[in-house]
Symmetry: C2
Subunit: 286 residues, 2 copies
């Protein structure tokens, strides 16, 4: 297992950790200031959200690299199924392609996919997962052409109805196998998988080429809001060392991306202090 | 698969579906009135909560049977681990035994166990699950002596921090095998397991003697409160027919227990209407 206690070059910031600027949360720092603040502190990577990029993908990607950061990912594809997926399907296809184009413009090799919930008028997750497989398989060749990997992220089962019918690493790997494209893999997020006792076994089944991302935060024992009350690493009950050991035992050596949605706590703090906390916690408890 | 379209004698009411009388929810019907209203409508069973029983277990059990109902279960043991478990452990042991005694007094063969969350100062679910196994193994012989089966209920992973470090049927069966007592099994609740694509396979591994209960409700796509916003069967996205098929393919032939926590909807309605809805939905969509 990698030793981060004196080296946090594997640390990446997911900008959501500073509050989504457009939501009235966070300090409203412009993207450039976030880039510089991460670079000054020795982060190795940064992950953006589409809303922050607009039509400046190439410019922002270059800006990040010039500061010394790898653009480690883009959040995210549109929902591909479920009540919040764009309709009609041509609009979905266009938006999916636009997200791939933005990732390519930023110069990142990873677009995160949150698949969306259960399809209207259907029951259970299985039919919806089949449709996800079709839609990802359809987009994968274009993404490959543009140098973009598609990272299927299983979410906590609490979101299965409306945000992600994909809720386990097991199902995510099964999807990858069904899709069978070299540029389709999974993202593993502590918040979503910390409870899964089969995780290490399933990740070994995935193998290193399928694991495209590892996301850090913590699960607070008394989570008050399943969307916006994530914990900073060390403040919750996830076994962070064991989770990283499982990911690395499967061969993962990429970035560890801090992604803390925390409307009532971290998003209310000074972003500089939040970034300092990310570094300190990453070195000490992850 | 059993046909319930013209026969709902397998239907049981979990009294929480009418609102917990002591919480200011529901119509505040006394237990006797709930018993009579279920019997009049042809329910086959009823499941009580300890708070409703007090020191009248034998009396209430007899009253239910006289009305033609089986007492199909008692909710529930104290949390056995985690932040809300009784302390010290002697208090936990006493309360666990009191819940077993109450089940025996009611004349029910099933006590539901919600195991509790992650133990204070520990991380991840695995150490806590080991402690659960020890505590259930310790209580099982006494429960057997009193004719009571212990039904380990995995809860939705959203509760893993504070209410149940046991979150999958897979882990529940593993616990049963570790405990290895004939009167320890599992309860399968739609709300908690509907998203699990491995359910049918895991239930086959459990076998009929391990499945002590099957609980009905529905998962609303836009669940607003993970504790108190359950849906009535048919109003959500769980594949109820497929779930029951999986339980019955594993050999289960027991009661189907409706348990709908719904502070803002069903608990605000006339209990008579709620019971009628339970019967109608059970016959049509379960």
């Amino acid at each position: 297992m990698r030793d981060f206690s004196t080296d946090h070059s594997a640390l990446a910031l997911n900008t959501a950790t500073l509050g989504h600027n457009l939501d009235g949360h966070g300090a409203g720092w412009p993207v450039e200031r976030v880039i510089d603040a991460c670079a000054e502190r020795g982060f190795g990577g940064i992950v953006f959200w589409r809303r922050e990029i607009g039509d400046r993908a190439i410019e922002i990607g270059n800006r990040a690299r010039k500061a010394g950061l790898t653009v480690a990912g883009l959040c995210r594809s549109p929902f591909l199924v479920g009540p919040m997926a764009p309709r009609p399907s041509s609009a979905l296809r266009d938006d999916f392609q636009a997200s791939i184009d933005m990732a390519a413009g930023l110069g990142t090799s990873i677009l995160t996919i949150v698949v969306g919930g259960v399809e209207p008028e259907s029951r259970g997750v299985e039919d919806s997962l089949k449709r996800v497989a079709e839609r990802v398989a359809e987009a994968a060749p274009y993404a490959a052409q543009r140098g973009v990997g598609l990272a299927l992220e299983p979410l906590n089962p609490v979101y299965a109805g409306n945000r992600s019918c994909l809720v386990t690493v097991r199902d995510a790997i099964d999807l990858c196998e069904a899709i069978d494209a070299a540029n389709v893999g999974i993202a593993v997020d502590v918040y979503h998988v910390w409870w899964d006792t089969s995780l290490a076994r399933e990740l070994r089944r995935a193998g290193k080429y399928r694991i495209l991302g590892y996301h850090l935060c913590d699960w607070l024992a008394d989570t008050r809001d399943v969307l916006l009350d994530r914990g900073m690493m060390g403040d919750g009950v996830a076994d962070l060392k064991a989770l990283r050991a499982a990911v690395e035992a499967a061969g993962y050596r990429g970035f560890c991306e801090v992604e803390v949605f925390s409307a009532e706590n971290w998003w209310k703090r000074d972003p500089a202090q939040v970034l300092d906390a990310c570094v300190e916690r990453f070195r000490s408890v992850c």
